[in-house]
């Protein structure tokens, strides 16, 4: 960690969260989705558009940038904004950078949002968007290796071959998260599933079945970042940002990949925990980027909840269930709630720490970890540790 890192532990807070409904076809533009989520988050915090002086988002050319959302909402007093290129790997970096901007005094109230018509327009899991991101795809696309489900399946199999991870391990995670979604009125998929249902679901890219893959979703989600002091005076219980870390790693697309079963999160986790002054044993609830079942398994290892290679048995033991020692993806995650590219994980962590998660509430949750895509598609990742004030 840099010696002169600004100590911003618990200096800022998330004061509000906002959602649009999640659907297969929103019928509206990403700009409209973004504006609705921003306004909903402000309302949740007890703030108005006039209070906003910062906007931030992440996208891959598929959403509304702050330079559109600001004017659309008549926000004329912005002193800070961020429009970060990147998919789910930078979702938590955006909130971290907003926290830094607030801690540094460049803005006082920043709304971080992600709006995406991921089902009806830009399908992240497909190829309709062309082949962007990296010149390295030229070595892959000619062979029909183009989509995230294929890429994650490739790394999942490497993990299976090395550590004996099984389909039943992945299935246990899908079943557990669906059980959480059953208790979440916002979730798109609320029908309980069994391990047999998982094993019977159709192949996408072996070793991945349909129920290994997240739900491409239309929707938007936003969170309000402000100073901890100001948050304490607002409508909702503030949730403190105890740590925010992000950074790069090795490319897993091609080249310089020493071990494909280790993600960039392994390098990031020690910095994150050091910032918060906490460790994995202190985490009460974890909202872990689940673009696929395997992304959770590998992150449970890389964030230190179990030894390397034991993520599969850890999940199958029931450890990640709502009543387990580490409830994971309490809202159902991207696999069952919906896919809003990282931000709905942050918002769920906030709901849990505020004690407002209804039937799926983890009793006494005080510390939450929330993570971004762990660095398989872009060599970068990010994460937050949040704490009840």
């Amino acid at each position: 960690m840099p010696k002169r890192l600004l100590d911003f532990r618990d200096a800022t807070a998330i004061a509000g969260v906002g959602y649009t409904p999640f659907s297969k076809n929103s019928g509206v533009s990403t700009l409209t989705l973004a504006c609705r989520a921003v306004l909903a988050a402000l309302d949740d915090a007890g703030l108005s558009a006039a209070d906003v002086d910062g906007l931030a988002t992440h996208r891959v050319g598929d959403s509304a940038p702050p330079t559109l959302v600001g004017p659309a909402l008549g926000l004329t007093g912005l002193s800070w904004h961020l429009d970060q290129f990147g998919g789910g790997s930078v979702s938590h970096a955006v909130v971290g950078q907003a926290a830094l901007a607030v801690a540094a005094g460049m803005a006082e109230t920043v709304v971080c949002y992600r709006a995406i018509n991921a089902r009806s327009e830009f399908r992240m899991g497909g190829t309709g968007r062309g082949l962007p991101v990296s010149p390295e795809v030229q070595y892959q696309a000619p062979y029909g290796y183009v989509a995230p489900p294929q890429q994650y399946a490739m790394y999942a199999r490497a993990h299976m071959l090395r550590y004996g991870t099984t389909a039943e391990h992945f299935g246990a995670l899908a079943v557990t998260q669906r059980a959480n979604a059953v208790k979440n009125p916002r979730a798109l998929m609320r029908t309980p599933i069994t391990l047999e249902d998982y094993l019977a679901s159709r192949w996408i890219a072996e070793p991945f079945r349909l129920l290994d893959c997240c739900l491409e979703t239309d929707g938007a989600c936003a969170v309000v970042v402000t100073t901890a002091e100001r948050a304490r005076a607002l409508r909702r219980p503030p949730v403190l940002i105890s740590a925010a870390a992000w950074g790069g790693g090795q490319s897993h697309l091609s080249g310089a990949a020493g071990d494909p079963t280790v993600t960039a999160a392994a390098e990031l986790a020690p910095r994150l925990y050091a910032q918060a002054g906490l460790g994995p044993a202190d985490v009460d609830v974890a909202e872990i980027y689940d673009c696929f079942t395997y992304s959770v398994v590998v992150q449970l290892e890389d964030y230190g909840f179990c030894p390397k290679g034991e993520g599969g048995p850890y999940v199958a033991s029931g450890a990640t269930a709502l009543d387990g020692p580490l409830p994971v993806n309490t809202h159902g995650g991207f696999l069952s709630e919906g896919y809003v590219h990282g931000v709905n994980h942050i918002a769920e962590a906030v709901s849990q720490l505020r004690g407002e998660a209804g039937d799926r509430q983890v009793p006494g949750a005080e510390v939450a970890l929330s993570t971004a895509q762990p660095g398989y598609v872009l060599p970068a990742t990010s994460a937050l540790i949040l704490r009840r004030a």
Binding site: Q138, P142, Y143, V146, S254, G255
Partner: protein, 130 residues
């Protein structure tokens, strides 16, 4: 299968030209001697910008594979197998290609690249080294 055409960039054009001549080449840094793949202008070990092409046998070991069942590429029939190969010549280098084994790959097995003409493009598939 007929998938996407490769889209060479200024760093990789010569690599593809050599593949078209059925020469599998990696880059060797002139400064520190480290071999690298895929093609790029800088050595990630010493940041040197001087290098030469080095023809190597297209050999490696199977690191992983998938069986594509959902047609993500229009016009390409499923199923097909994509294999991830760790190159013998570049320990950190991972190459991808279609599998021509007639059976599923095996973890860690030795494989060799075989050239496939796809229209006016040459691609590299992989088969058991025997």
């Amino acid at each position: 299968m007929a998938g996407h055409r490769p889209e060479p960039d200024r760093d990789s054009r010569e690599w593809w030209e050599r593949i078209a001549r059925h020469e599998f080449a990696v880059q060797r840094c002139a400064g520190c001697g480290v071999d690298r793949f895929p093609a790029r202008a800088f050595c990630p070990a010493c940041r040197g910008e001087e290098w030469r092409w080095r023809a190597v046998e297209p050999e490696g070991r199977v690191e992983s594979w998938i069986v594509a069942r959902q047609p993500f590429v229009p016009g390409v029939a499923v199923p097909y197998v994509v294999v991830m190969v760790r190159l013998s010549a570049v320990p950190d280098g991972l190459a991808y290609g279609n599998w021509r084994g007639g059976r599923e790959p095996r973890a860690g097995e030795r494989v060799r690249g075989v050239y496939r003409e796809e229209g006016d493009v040459t691609l590299v598939d992989w088969e058991p080294a025997g």
